[in-house]
Symmetry: C2
């Protein structure tokens, strides 16, 4: 295994030429029209994850993280009590922050996802009892918010930045997940009543409310998919279209993505997580309603984010000041904010952009954010969390047990166990494999049932073995994502095909597939030396190391001389899997021309051992 | 046909991210070791070119350019007379420049290539008579140079910058080509006698001569391949190894690539064409002798050239001051030098780098230089030439009939008809298709004869139809280059295969091929909007247009408002083939949001109609 001159994700290093490194060629509007894709992700509830990378993580979330979260919500804080008190089932008063309900909803969503791979009757019973409190706290008209019910009931819907719709959105997401996991509809009915209330009061022609923290939009689209009720989709579209028309009551509308109508957006501004949730909702509506103006705007902001405002780790939002964006190419490493929730948001948004365009490049970004900026948010033990994910540390930045604003732990709690939902998608006559993880699923392609199994040691190795078990032999497309970092790959099939194609980042195989057919994809995974855009001041004269989707870093514990570490064109690299390293990881040894060695570990694994300095970007000499 | 957000040659636009546009990740030395490829290009003499793009060009070269060249060498100047006078067959004295012999040799090389696709008895007879003069001018000891023979015979081998070996190199190349085309060996024997003389006087342990203008090295390797005589390869290696040890007698050794030993080269310096010829010879020797130190040095300088010093057109050497290089990213458009010979040199060098590494990315560069920086050097009529190829003109830069220093016309004269030699290569058990042109060839793969035919409308369309006619059914690899600009492609075969792979820029198909088997490769060819590396001051705020391998430009004749032309994210693009445009070309119409249209023509076609302003890089608003 040697270092490669092949540059990150380029199939042609030539492309990174002095005169045409090229970076910002936004789509022409005519390309912006929504592609008539009918791609639907295969629901998490249909996917059993079973591999040596994800299974231990999912186990940890089920066995530790969820417990931590329940303990925090139910014991150490009063988040669940708030509902019981609002319902009049308990004495007391509201404690916490005005959006704390959302953490409970996200926790329930996480429990739901977890129950699929980890059935647990006791946990389910506990969730049922929490849901009982929630349902009981609902007002007769459908309204539900423990803070407003208990603290300032007279001020409902007076402050657009108080997250009432944000909480409603998380309620809807949690309720749908719980219904999928358990078949129980109490929570779903509660959420639906609140959604009906919102339609009645804030639909087209009703009150011009602008939700200060987006989330409700994507949740309403989920509810539309779940129920078939068009009014939910209508409301999502109305709320999105209402932005940028001066209805917002804030001083800095750009912070809320409320400065211009969304169809006029050209760049990402303000709070990173809010922007991600808005863009996710827009992508959903663009698919369903053919809103070319949304698609064009999303293509523009995607270029802005990806080309100018994203860290190598897939993290975004470099500034702690506004939890968001500053100017292009402002990507400091030690002061990076790169909130865990924003990386999760990148996965949510980019998986939807993939659905909108049928293009694997969006999953390249989602994958980058998941394996790096998101996974770094949780400790190896599953009980400590990063809110902020810098790319450099003097040794003083550590994961914490919990946060006053607990959005990140509860987001990890629901996101990580949902990861199986990113593995597969189907369209009219195609099976799409988007993220490679050992897993099995039952999907429906063109009306026929197909059993699907993936075996792989991804992200440590590039071999993926896909077994197909259609109920009867039938023709359909198998679409395997070829990640952008992958330059050399091969496939073999046990069946016979007479051609194939590469289309928007997918290897497309047409065949008449029969029970037991196997497709083996083999992706070369060399160590890559990465250079930043020269406009990024913070990375001048530095290089980073990536292998497959994994970004690496140096920690002081492995590299006592980290302060003087450097790489050069004379450095050679060796990658080797070490089973004993934090549950197993491929580590990279860099050997300089002088014989000195550096030991790189996956970025997401940092700060799990003796604290010390850490760098992702290393001086290049 | 619409503009694409896909950025030039990137399989993942994501890759051009703010934090990792990445450009200069030089190879680690361990990768520098020569790969044991046995890839050999299929000789031009085996390839019949027959398509609507190249055939008219080859016809023009045969019918016009060669005549111009012969007229210039034989009538308007005394280049051929110089030989006759030196031979004592004619009265008179030397006229011209000290390296003019080389133009005659290049002309003969061009005639040889041309005879394959355009048999012409009269032309062949004329070439024979010129060869008679040349052979007659050879000294008894093998020395041959009409300038030294006639002007300063006592000063032979006193000035390293007087091109005696450069002329010898071109003699060898011309002689081998003429032998391949006609089977006549008189010229080859003459060249060989001179080469024997050089071995005797300048081989290892003999005089430490450093040729001031490289060329002899690659020619000696050709002679080794032709004759099997190892001493020619030895001399090539010796001459290369002798550089950088202080033997050179010049004040600015960097101009001559003589500042450091070649194995220590890290960047390209000095005269562009000389550097190209040196690197070509090094690549040849690296393949044959496994010189890992050469390979590592070549990998380093390749990165330096491609990432920092190459124009979008594949032209290099931005400065007229030294016909060569200045500092990285110094790529002015109007003042660009980008000598035609240097673009030809890029094709020579990069096709050899391809042979060294078996990587298609080098052919991406060769193709860029051929279709743009090289083809621009000759007028549509075939009788006017650019020495200098700027990317912008105020309307005052035009092709000329000839030049005092005639290297460029005579180089075009030999390069263009040799283009069939770039189409195919073979290795032990594989057929490589490197440049797509309508053509047929008889090749030998693994000891068996295989008839090969390519039908295509490349570079205007991306469909390539390859027909295989092996003498008997046999298994071998078919390797089709997937150009770096191509993101979406598909193939079909009439045979059956059970898998394929993509390896270093090639689609590799394994099959048992039989007579009449067809592989159809279909490459999507969208219009691409290209941005330069931000370190290129000259291109700040500008964008260029490329489609397939063709770089486009705006000319005033089509765009009277060229002074205020601009592109934006609202621009849409339509590509259409226009048969009446200079023999047929795909032109691109760009329509702005305001409805205004721009008409882009291929860069190589500029200055063939009413003179006026021209720009490649267009303001982006």
């Amino acid at each position: 295994m040697v270092a490669s001159a092949v540059i990150l994700g380029l199939s042609v290093p030539e492309a990174a030429n002095a005169q045409f490194t090229s970076s910002a060629a936004p789509s022409a509007p005519s390309q912006g029209s929504a592609v008539a894709f009918t791609m639907r992700p295969v629901d998490f509830s249909q996917v059993k994850v079973n591999d040596s990378f994800w299974s231990p993580i999912l186990d940890r979330v089920a066995n530790t993280t969820l417990d931590v979260c329940i303990d925090q919500c139910a014991v150490k804080t009063h988040r669940i009590d708030n509902f019981a008190i609002a319902a009049g089932l308990k004495e007391g008063k509201f404690e916490g922050i005005f959006f704390d309900d959302s953490d409970v909803y996200k926790m329930l969503e996480g429990i739901a996802y977890s129950l699929v791979n980890h059935p647990d009757k006791a946990l389910e019973a506990r969730a049922d009892s929490i849901i009982n409190f929630i349902a009981a706290a609902q007002h007769d008209d459908g309204y539900l918010n423990s803070y407003y019910t208990l603290v300032t009931p007279e001020k409902k819907w007076t402050d657009m930045d108080k997250h009432e719709m944000y909480c409603a959105g998380h309620m809807i997401e949690g309720a749908i997940a719980y219904y999928h996991a358990t078949g129980k509809d109490k929570f779903l009915n509660t959420a639906r009543r609140f959604a009906d209330y919102l339609c009645l009061n804030f639909g087209k022609g009703k009150r011009n409310w602008v939700p200060g923290h987006e989330e409700i939009e994507l949740a309403l689209v989920k509810l539309y998919h779940e129920t078939g009720e068009v009014k939910y989709l209508d409301l999502a579209e109305t709320l999105i279209d209402r932005r940028g028309h001066g209805y917002g009551t804030w001083k800095k509308p750009e912070y809320y993505q409320d400065l211009v109508p969304v169809s006029e957006l050209t760049e990402i501004t303000g709070h990173a997580v809010r922007a991600m949730y808005l863009f996710s909702g827009m992508a959903d509506v663009a698919v369903l309603r053919g809103r070319a103006d949304y698609t064009q705007a999303l293509d523009r902001v995607w270029n802005d984010v990806i080309l100018r405002k994203m860290y190598l780790t897939g993290g975004i939002g470099s500034s702690s000041h506004n939890e968001g964006f500053t100017v292009p190419y402002d990507l400091p490493n030690k002061q990076a904010y790169a909130e865990t929730c924003a990386s999760i948001g990148m996965a949510l948004w980019n998986s939807r952009m993939n659905r909108l365009h049928g293009d694997g490049k969006y999953f390249d970004v989602a994958e980058r954010s998941i394996y790096n900026g998101t996974l770094s948010g949780i400790s190896y033990t599953g009980d400590h969390f990063f809110y902020v994910n810098p790319l450099e540390s003097a040794g003083d930045h550590h994961r914490q047990e919990w946060f006053g604003c607990a959005c990140c732990p509860s987001n990890l709690d629901r996101f990580l166990p949902s990861v199986g939902g990113y593995a597969y998608a189907v369209s009219d006559n195609a099976l799409w494999v988007n993220m490679y993880m050992g897993s099995s699923a039952n999907v429906s392609v063109g009306g026929s049932d197909v059993g699907v199994k993936v075996e792989t040691r991804y992200p440590w190795e590039g071999e993926v073995r896909l077994t197909l078990n259609p109920s009867k032999s039938r023709e359909f497309e198998v679409r395997l994502r070829i990640p952008g970092w992958c330059r050399d790959w091969s496939y073999k099939t046990s069946g016979k095909i007479s051609g194939s194609r590469v289309e928007r980042g997918y290897l497309v195989l047409n065949g008449k597939w029969k029970k037991g057919d196997v497709v083996t994809l083999n992706m070369d995974m060399p160590v890559e030396v990465v250079e930043a855009d020269p406009r990024v001041e913070a990375d001048k004269g530095l290089r980073a190391i990536q292998r497959g989707p994994i970004v690496y870093c140096l920690e002081e514990i492995d590299n006592p001389g980290i302060a003087s570490a450097s790489l050069s064109s004379g450095t050679t690299f060796t990658a080797a899997y070490e089973p004993s390293f934090l549950g197993g990881a491929t580590l990279i040894t860099a050997r300089g021309a002088d014989g000195k060695e550096l030991r790189f570990i996956p970025y997401f694994d940092w700060d799990n051992r003796t604290p010390g300095r850490m760098i992702v970007w290393v001086p290049w000499k």
